[in-house]
Amino acid sequence: MNTVDVKLPTDAVKDLLLKQHIKFIESYNSETNHYEYTMTEYLRISGIYWCVTAMDLMDSIDKLDREAIVGFVLDCQMECGAFRPCPGHDPHIICTLSAVQILITFDALNKMNIDACINYIISLQCKDGSFTGDSVNGEIDTRFTFCAVATLSLLNRLNDTINVDSAVEFIHLSSNFDGGFGVRPGSESHSGQVYCALGTLALLGRLSEIDADQLGWWLCERQLPSGGLNGRPQKLPDVCYSWWVLASLAIINRLHWISKNKLVEYILACQDMETGGFSDRPGDWPDPFHTLFGLAGLSLLGYNDGRSLAKVNPVYCMKESRLEDSGISIPTNYYS
């Protein structure tokens, strides 16, 4: 059986095309990308978070229209406290996290209704510790646990709000034979969910409850011969996993269990020389989502000794200095 993988092209990009990426994000708006922009309005606010954070990691946030973006985000907060992705769409916990991340980046947190937001998040927690994504569907997902906990942590209100013990228990119920975590109890392990679970445990100070060696092994086995990382066994590599997997490894202090050089090679090969931006794998269309995670991955890997990109925080996926400036306690010294 052959390994499912890609082959890096011989003329793959070998340097970081920083200027092109700045241009790519800058011009990613309703004019140049009218079609994608409109068709993805149901996740607009998360798209903004990807763009804003990518620019921040490239130390180019001044190129964005702060007023317009903050205005848009604030307009997305609903009476219930949660944020919607854009006008005309319903609020959701994922959008809420993105909103708070954007506001912190632009130092405009005080402009939102923090209490209403906190109350909304509290109301989403179920008795078994899990979280729904909104108040109308019953959908439960460990992603929503992470969104809830991360948002509360960024708002500095983890201590007196949700039931932490049951939230952690639910995470453990979602763990599997391979040490990984799935969408909900019974679900197959998936790197995105692993990231959400580890991020949650890190923020709640409960990382020591997992077997880091076992999970670390499953995570480092995501690396394929091409150097790229996949999301679960026997799947193709994707640049966004150079975030989910990498951040997970960083959180449990086992980043060195993959080959950094080979991964850097893969990520760089995912750049689009014509337009800038990163795509999921070499030769595909680039987009802001993969651009953020490509850059974040390179930052975590210490690309160019940290001289090209700002340092990213592996739990929040935000510029670390931005968090420090905002007085947010970063769970440093992750699991040793």
């Binding site: 409109t38 179920c126 066994p233």
Partner: protein, 640 residues
Amino acid sequence: MHGRVKVRSTAEQEEARKKERGKKLLTYKGAMSRVQSKRDDGQFDEEALEITAKLLVRNPDIATLWNYRKEILQFMRENKEDGDLVCSREKSLTETCIKENPKSYCAWNHRQWIMEWLGDRADWSEELGLCNRFLDLDERNFHCWDYRRFVVSRGGATPREELEFTTAKIENNISNYSSWHYRSKLLPLIHPNESMEVKALVQAGGGETLQPDRETVQPERDTVQPERETVQPNRETEQPDRETEQPDRGTVQSNRESMQPDSETMHSDMETVQSDWEIKHLNKATTRPNWETISGELDLVRNAYYTDPNDQSVWFYHRWLLGPLSFLSNRPSLRSVCARRGHHIAASLSAPIGPESITLTLDESLAPGAWRSLDVSSDKLSSVWFQDFPDNYSDDVEVNIRVSIDSNESPIETKSISIAAGNLSEVFWRSPEEDFDASNDVVERTANLLEEELEHLKELGEMEPDNKWILLTIVYVMRAIDPVKYIKDIEDRLLKLTEVDNLRVNYYRDMQSKYLIENQLMQCGRQTESGGDQSYRTDCSLSGLGLTRLYHCQYFLPVTHLDVSWNNLSNLNGVSMLFHLERLNADDNCLVEIGDIRGLKELRFLSLQHNQLDYSEQLEPLKGLQLKECLLSGNGAATI
């Protein structure tokens, strides 16, 4: 956003594409605008269903449209519309959408929502058929597998039938991970681990099912949200043996718009009977099948790995099947208690616990102070806790010290030591070897099985000498059988692994370090120091072992002299909890950072020669220490 290949197109093709997109955009915008204004007007009618359906078939991920549909359906229900017709339309729509995007969270969720609405009127075998079809298209579609588990929880199939299903899938397919994963959930359900411990825990919980109550009831809060109730499915099946599948989440409804007819079961807000500790153990214990099943399953696994030794999914599964074979306990138990007059009382454990679970008593009264932790991570749990030694004890009086680990306020393990009059310190240290003996209920039963497995693996390994899965599994099995006997074989294979699987070289090196330290710990207990019947080491050498990582540091708490020189350490993580350390030699490593060692208050001699500490920032951690001597030559920062 994923998997969209950038294909070169001519100017003509570009033009055509632009035109088509322009049209799509107009249609989309028009429809969305119409939908939004109808919704704002509170219109819940056929037209709304039509427009949203048209949009969703092209864009199944627009959650808001599904939400609107739910509102419309609820409205129609209240107005006595034909529920079955409505539902069949939703089923048809969701199926079309799932075909369009098999990975659409909202589409699958909506279908589940509809099924829950139908309740007893749902055709679960039809749903199972849907799952079969979609799994034929993509055996790794986890949305479909999760939906399938939901269907099974409603009686769509029994766990045994599901087990057969996975067997068939594994025999026919290459990409099997999802099936093996499902088996790992089904086996413990069908053949639960009936050990005494598990039985006792289940009885204590008074449970017919093995899961804690999973209910969504929000207590009274001053929030904007109305109280929401989850409707739990009836979780008891007809089968005599307890084959209850884990129920998937019920739908959450707002109180004022209850979708569910009154025939559904509603659970009352009961407190869970079990303690947190018991639940933890229960969950861990019940995630493994019984022993006979494991042996039987190994046959299936062997067939699989003989058929295709490169199929990684079977190797992950195999690892789980063999079980946690480390001899070191992962349940918190006391490893050592160290007390020094005028300084501290410290306790180390095999696994981290919180400070509320450990109690210190001095001469029969509770110690006044609070436990502090030196664990580098910001965790609330730690494997090493310490307190300051209280002031009011004079040196010429004996003091009795008792440390106990508690759960729910009752002690589950206690150790007492006494510092005799005129003595300065006392240490209790339990050798890890004792753990090894105690945990060997497991290993005893598996001894033959493991030996047999090792033979199979070695045989296969000869045919496939570069297969990393076989090499790694042999290492794992050898460690379980006899880590000391196989020490050289393991080392050789780990070295081979760094060659054939170079991407993960650092993983193999860290594992080698772990095994070396574990072997050292096993041998520690076999040497006696002067100082009574306790055997512990104050002097410990881990020099020249090629260590890349320091594992199990909490086991070295009583050590005062530690030598980790001539290794490959890039940091001193773990050393921070070696509270008693007076002398540390870390020469000739590749240290690029020292780490947080400011808690090593007893440290007087530190040698860090010949490392890579080239910048003054890297020496920051030395500032808090009270060192008498610090050797730094052979570093870039030595001149600073």
